[in-house]
């Protein structure tokens, strides 16, 4: 049987987070009542003219800069003509000839954990269409134009992805990037990030491309992975059994975990692209490009490197924290008040993250000042507080009383540890007196019993004795 390799290219549509639409001032919010965010321009009334939204151009360029692209200096716009009820003008404004960004690359981790560079073909600006509903009425299709004209960028990759896992990593990386840049909320379920995949397979070692299938309607990152996986299996099975298949568009049924044929379009679409005369060109000047380059926020891989190299965090911690821009900011805020970075990472990924999960809360709604976490860390490092009482007792109380000092809460809860040797020795003497036979066994060589004594002393001190002091003192008492 022939071994095949997959060749995958992805097209991602990114809905830009602007307040108004791309070419007119209608609101661009998600979820408004139908047809309440429209105007004569978005409805294409005769005589209306489009006008660029500054913010759209800026966000498109930021994405290009983040992906190391060349920024096109002289931008023109084109009309992509097709006749459909969700497109009132009869054409979509897009950039066919002069995509605002070309070239570029993004790094992802492949399955062996190695960096792999995926080349970007182009990014261009365009506008979204309205929404048609076919199943609400027996005879009519209902159309809502709120989305018509909402700004999009389309991001096209080279066919550099070799597996469903790599496609998953790529989309995750893009989603992380758009969130870091604040140009899109990255919500695939609501359609603000949409992904289409071009998938083909070929015998390993060959260089020609096989028949290409386009998969649409994958509304989550894990579905992108599942859809590509199942499509690769389908194509492999067909070729192995001597069959061929056609180049077509397929949808993905998430329940069955399979792709299915969508009706192929009769006669290839003829979009009759031509230049959009209603929009003047946009020229990106040196000064403007410089200004945008300087305003670019730290990117996930830069922060990852900083956490890993400058703050010496383990790879896992650095990766997990930088998954989320806001979590990273919180973590960095803690590190401004403590030099125990590893502990700050543990708090961020442990107690804080589980608290957020339990409360179904986002870090931005978590109002505890990061310096309080540093106070907790400081008390632990001074052996005044055990890790478990800090996270299980003090932290929940601190969240309820964010203005109280950590020390005062710990005192109030009576969980400050003591390393008062006299006090601890007293407790040790009591414990040892309770277990004369175990003491005997220990002295006869059963050293494993040390843990039992320490545990009993800790229990008798109600967790307040400093475990390190207890350990030393127990050994001393037994020798």
């Amino acid at each position: 049987m022939t071994t095949y390799e997959a060749i995958i290219g992805l097209e991602i549509h990114i809905q830009l987070l602007t307040k108004s639409k791309a070419y007119c001032s209608d609101l661009a919010e998600y979820g408004a009542l139908p047809n309440t965010q429209v105007s004569p321009i978005s409805l294409a009334h005769p005589g209306t003219l489009p006008k660029h939204n500054k913010e759209v151009i800026e966000k498109a360029i930021m994405m290009g800069l983040a992906l190391n692209c060349n920024i096109t200096r002289n931008n023109r716009f084109d009309r992509k003509n097709y006749f459909y009820a969700d497109l009132p003008k009869g054409y979509q404004i897009t950039q066919d000839q002069t995509p605002i960004c070309t070239g570029g690359f993004v790094s992802i981790k492949n399955k062996d954990g190695e960096e792999k560079s995926i080349r970007i073909t182009r990014i261009h600006m365009e506008e979204d269409s309205g929404k048609s509903m076919h199943d609400q009425d027996l005879n009519d299709t209902l159309v809502d134009y709120n989305r018509a004209g909402v700004p999009l960028i389309e991001l096209v990759s080279e066919p550099d992805l070799k597996s469903a896992e790599e496609a998953y990593e790529y989309v995750s990386e893009m989603r992380k990037l758009v969130r870091y840049l604040g140009i899109c909320d990255g919500n695939m379920e609501e359609g603000s990030l949409r992904c289409d995949a071009n998938v083909s397979i070929r015998p390993v070692g060959t260089t020609t491309f096989g028949t290409k299938v386009e998969i649409k309607n994958m509304n989550s990152i894990s579905n992108v992975k599942r859809a590509i996986e199942s499509e690769i299996i389908r194509q492999t099975e067909l070729l192995n059994s001597g069959q061929t298949f056609v180049s077509e568009t397929r949808g993905f049924n998430a329940l069955k975990g399979q792709t299915f044929s969508m009706r192929t379009k009769e006669a290839a679409n003829d979009y009759r692209y031509f230049p959009e005369p209603d929009l003047p060109p946009f020229i990106v000047s040196d000064a403007y490009l410089q200004q945008l380059t300087e305003s670019l926020p730290s990117l996930p891989h830069q922060l990852y490197n900083r956490l890993k190299n400058e703050l010496s965090l383990p790879e896992y911690d650095a990766k997990t924290i930088t998954e989320d821009k806001d979590l990273t900011n919180y973590f960095l805020n803690i590190t401004e008040h403590t030099s125990n970075y590893k502990s700050a990472a543990n708090w961020t990924l442990g107690t804080i993250k589980s608290y957020l999960n339990e409360q179904a809360m986002h870090i931005n709604d978590f109002h505890l000042n990061a310096s309080k976490i540093a106070e907790l860390i400081a008390l632990i490092d001074l052996d005044k507080l055990s890790n478990s009482s800090a996270s299980q007792l003090v932290f929940p109380e601190l969240v309820k009383n964010p203005n109280e000092s950590v020390l005062s809460i710990a005192e109030r809860l009576n969980v400050i540890q003591t390393n008062d040797v006299n006090l601890i020795s007293g407790i040790i003497a009591e414990v040892l007196a309770k277990y004369p036979d175990k003491v005997e066994e220990y002295k006869n060589g059963k050293k494993g019993l040390l843990g039992l004594f320490v545990g009993e002393v800790m229990k008798a001190s109600k967790g307040k004795a400093d475990p390190k002091t207890v350990n030393t003192e127990v050994i001393k008492a037994l020798s």
Partner: protein, 98 residues
Amino acid sequence: MQITDEKINQLAHLSRLTFDNNEKAKIKQDLERILELCESLNKIDTEGVEPLIHMTNSVNIVREDNPHQEFSREELLKNAPKKDSDYFRVPKVIEQAK
């Protein structure tokens, strides 16, 4: 340039129009005359001349990202041939087989 029946059918499909045979013949004639007229432009030497896309030399005409809703839904639905209180209504558009 000859306009074929195939071309007429394709253009009709793209613009979602239907013609009977008499109309087709007439449109064919019209289109051929339009193309003929356009072909006269080929007599001009356009070597090195950039296509004229815009009627002015304006560039970088942009607006701030400030949303603005001028008209109500009711007003905007007014001109639609078919509508209800919330939606524009159009004939059922499900991808049609040939």
